[in-house]
Symmetry: D3
Subunit: 259 residues, 6 copies
């Protein structure tokens, strides 16, 4: 059975996460299926894609499959890793992607949701950014992504506390474009998607690409960037990082010492 369901109607493609047993975790298998579905929808001339969980889901997606994280000593958020690849694909896709969200959005799934162009949430949705809980040094493009949407200080609180934002907080922070009652969520989302399909796909594609480039146009010198990579490497080489992953797997709170 497939981990996702795909549908195309009125030029609107829908990808439904269907991996409830593992809370729609973004494992390599899951990501590969989503990438294939996106490719198929593009070929079928979809003008907008909606990502959603199964109706009534308690978890939209639980993010990274921690079992797939590399051993300490390797960057856990490398350019060709599945999660980083799906984020890039969504961002570079020349058509809008809407995240229609019920339930919890955790870790890497936050980054996937925020990579979508428009986010529409139900009152039970929540967003929790967990790298500091496990000890992961997040990557630069991922962090930029958050501060472009939420501003600097809200992103800091989200990352430093690793506490969930409620739907209402997510709306205030600019994460959600719209917060809609659960029973109106679907209709609201598809109506908005239809408005997009009436407009010029060429114009939309180039504007999306321009926004992507402008939002990432925070260039840094190679010296600065290599310094950041050096700092990040110290983290994923650390004892704390191993502790964080072990604690997660053993479902116990980690004991971080800063070493």
């Amino acid at each position: 059975m497939s981990l996702i369901l795909t549908q195309l109607q009125n030029q609107i493609g829908t990808i439904t996460f269907n991996y409830r047993a593992y809370r729609n975790i973004l494992s390599k298998a899951m990501v590969d299926e989503i990438l294939e579905a996106i490719e198929a929808l593009r070929k079928s001339k979809a003008r907008v894609i909606i990502f959603r969980a199964e109706p009534g889901a308690a978890v939209w997606s639980a993010g990274h499959d921690v079992r797939e994280l590399p051993l300490p000593g390797r960057d856990p958020l490398a350019y060709h890793d599945p999660l980083v690849t799906i984020l890039r694909t969504v961002q570079e896709l020349p058509l809008p992607v809407i995240a229609m969200i019920e339930g919890g959005v955790w870790g890497g799934a936050c980054d996937l949701a925020l990579s979508c162009d428009i986010l529409i949430g139900a009152p039970n949705c929540s967003f929790c950014m967990t790298p500091a809980k496990i000890g992961v040094p997040y990557n630069v493009t991922g962090i930029l992504h958050f501060i472009n949407i939420m501003g600097v200080n809200r992103a800091k609180e989200m990352f430093f506390t690793a506490q969930p934002l409620t739907a209402e907080q997510a709306r205030t922070a600019g994460i959600l474009n719209h917060l809609v009652e659960a029973d109106r969520l679907e209709e609201f989302t598809y109506t908005l998607a239809e408005q997009i399909t009436c407009n010029s796909p060429l114009s939309i594609a180039v504007i999306k690409e321009q926004i992507r480039l402008l939002a990432s146009a925070h260039p840094m010198s190679p010296h600065t960037f290599e310094r950041v990579q050096g700092l990040r490497r110290r983290v994923y080489d650390s004892r704390d990082y191993a502790e964080g992953i072990n604690a997660f797997k053993e479902k116990r709170p980690p004991n971080f010492t800063g070493e």
Copy 2:
């Protein structure tokens, strides 16, 4: 008769759009008059300028004069075009410009309003960004302008759906500094303008210029920029672009095919 009215009182200049027959459209003639008025107000030592429509206007400005758009094959948002010139003038002006807004703000007029330093709106104001409706590839500085004020995701929804934002949504999105009842709009705006005239015009001028430079400091490599211009050219060379303009002139919905 003039397309605008100009007034100067207590170092506060006011430019009132007075071209109701054409919904205060930003035609070349209109832009030229505004540019002249700005120049005159500067010479008269105005310390702040207010842009407004006639009291009770249903439309603050309808934006571009579509009749003046170039033929397909030419960039419709070029550096020396009237609309782009007035945006630049307002942004580079060494004194604050306040947009006092009643009624609809459409297309290029959105960009003019957002180019003002402070926006104060009445409950009937609304903002609609229409390039995707016509098939226009918007220009890079214009898009940067929107994401600097609204954040990335709200700007995407505004551009991709081409649906109007209500006054309340505009306030939440950070477009409006203040949303004020219609009958208090004038008083509120002039009070705020007076506060500005008490402060150091030299200090204000240099801070405005610094903000302008910082807000545009999202530099991109020449390769990236020429690629964007290449993508934009494909749009204004497309069949869809011609269709979008024709449909607009013929007041019918366009039929976009993505070609």
Copy 3:
């Protein structure tokens, strides 16, 4: 007697401004004490630092000590000046700093508060940015700081009018992460701080540094920057700047002529 009080409990350091006679003004002496306290807390392995005024304060801090401003002809916001140094220290500190705010936050103290990573305010807090009132040409990093948090247009209003934002306005503008009743302020703040101390300090440190670098990654060419410094110098060489400082010291409104 010391100008500040320092405490460390449960890895949470607290620095309490204790210079009520001068409204917790950020004089060189005050800054030196804060810098020392920060250094001591770091050595004692604090994982988060809280800046606060004495309980019930009417003024969190009144900012610059205007008596210490240099004579006209010298940049009043130079890199090695006390205020600029404390801002940089807080921003570069590899652990989170929380501003817990009661009372007024004026001028340079706004910049200190916004340099903190998370801001939690009581209903009586307010924020007032005063350089245009005195005629000071603010520095570029300081301005960038404001627009990264508040967006472009809100920052302009704050600087151009030099009027205070209420606690509610500060929350809407994204300055305050949380607005909390005065009697719950302390508990709320320490609970949030404790959440931070449970997470990986290495991960948090590198994420804070990445956010700092990304937020300042608005690079400008040397030509642009030297032009800005030239414009700023014209301001601090001006008659108006001398007038602004004199008026402040003489507690009378300044008479600015733009020269």
Copy 4:
């Protein structure tokens, strides 16, 4: 008959320009054949490619096919034009390209030669950059290309005078890596190519890409870039530009008036 000849031996691909009747002009047809040949050589695992003219050629390539230039009013150096496409392909190719040069290199062919990674010339080679002779506003990436190799002042002389550089001047200017007697040119070039084939193709590919990115890492703000495009448009909309193209086609000196 084909406009080029292609050969692959010892992992060294050779593309020989074979369009002597039109002085190896880079027409759309010529560019298409070169692009196909490059693709085929890549698939056949070539580790280095050599571009050359037929032995003893008096002209390596005469550059743009002026007959294919667009009408005035259109950017003559647009992103998807054949010449600009071949330059980009060579620069982005993940293996080294060597230009082995006998004879004259004119206009756009200069840009192609300089896009190659290593240039080896015979004493009869010469380089002439002709846009100012015709009145063409050169594109930004093209100009960057020249100043990265020759330095600022030599590039200015080359563009402003439109006079040819001799082989010796080209060596001094850093255009030629090596200046070799005509009868040793082939042996010298293939020996150097063989040295490359002994080394790690993965290491070479990533270093080439890094150099490409660093050399183009001269980012400019969108405002600056759109201003440049505006200035360039004024040139290709000008009377002088039409005059330059006509004069070229009529083989007479142009009469430029600056309008």
Copy 5:
């Protein structure tokens, strides 16, 4: 009597430095005359301008008028200072400027010569960059200017040793486009200037502007730039800087202690 002589022939303007008594020093008076002459030549439709000293000069220009340097505590290379203004004017002028050089070129005059687009020197010309001799912290755009032309290491030697480069060394370093015998200097220079006047002035103007922008496109973050300005201020506030200026005026070697 004027400090310069101006001539216009065949669209070639010539500005001859005529202030031999003070070795063509770039005093405010001298700069003002040059600026006026440039403006006049532009209005008269000059297509190229030549800067030269009187025939047979031993000194092309001795640079800064040290008597006009500000007191310690002020930046000696500020944006609106005469020397910095003339450099900017030459760089931004939309037509080529050729430096025809006989004799010594010292200090700020080096920067003026290198600001010209093409440099042609006689065998007796020499270039000496003296800020380290006096203790001046050079400005950022000035330094960028040198490294763009000479490369990083040659510029370092020139600045650190403050020793003159001979004509031959200047040619090797890329400072001189051409080194020509004294008796052929004039003919050679005017022939090259004439070649420029045959070409499209519009195309040349836009290419010069593009090169200027690309050469200055080495953007730095505001934090980095303010740090540099802080370091520079420490130098012009230092005891050594006062010593350097005094020693120069007293024509004795300075005694630098590093404080």
Copy 6:
């Protein structure tokens, strides 16, 4: 016995590599000694430092200690590695460093030599850049370093062929400031160093720092940089990289397959 010798005379510090048995290889032990010596010389108020090998050396330094390279799967040129650390130290040192070079300069030692501010070589010196021979993906700051000094095309040849440059070629390429007969090398170098000690150390320090910052001011977006790191990781994860290191250790030619 120490791996280096240190001397200080007339404010000129000299560090002599003294590890002939291992061709002055830059092992961790060697780097640590150099770092200590630099620190000691700074404290003793040296105004310039000279790096040299023992007189008459056949090898100035053989670069990386390949035995210390990490296992495949780890970046071999990470920010905190000894070689990368010494490069950064030399570049950030606030006083000039002169490389006085006899004999071969290989691999990482090239980068050390080019990190020095001024290079003076004897006729037997040579420079060989070997990463492509071993299959190492060089780091971005290192490559930038080479292209800033040699230009783009010469750097490509040096990296792609991994063949040594002769002293004469190094002078032409701008690597050597001076090429001096072996018996005059010492006198020439110390004379130049003395010229530096006469000048203002404050002025020199800030100019060196400005040049460092400008030379590294080739900023790239985080997306671009992470893509490069992803490409580099594919190389150090590859079979070819393991083969390159093994072949080097076994002193046989590697057999690269591109996988």
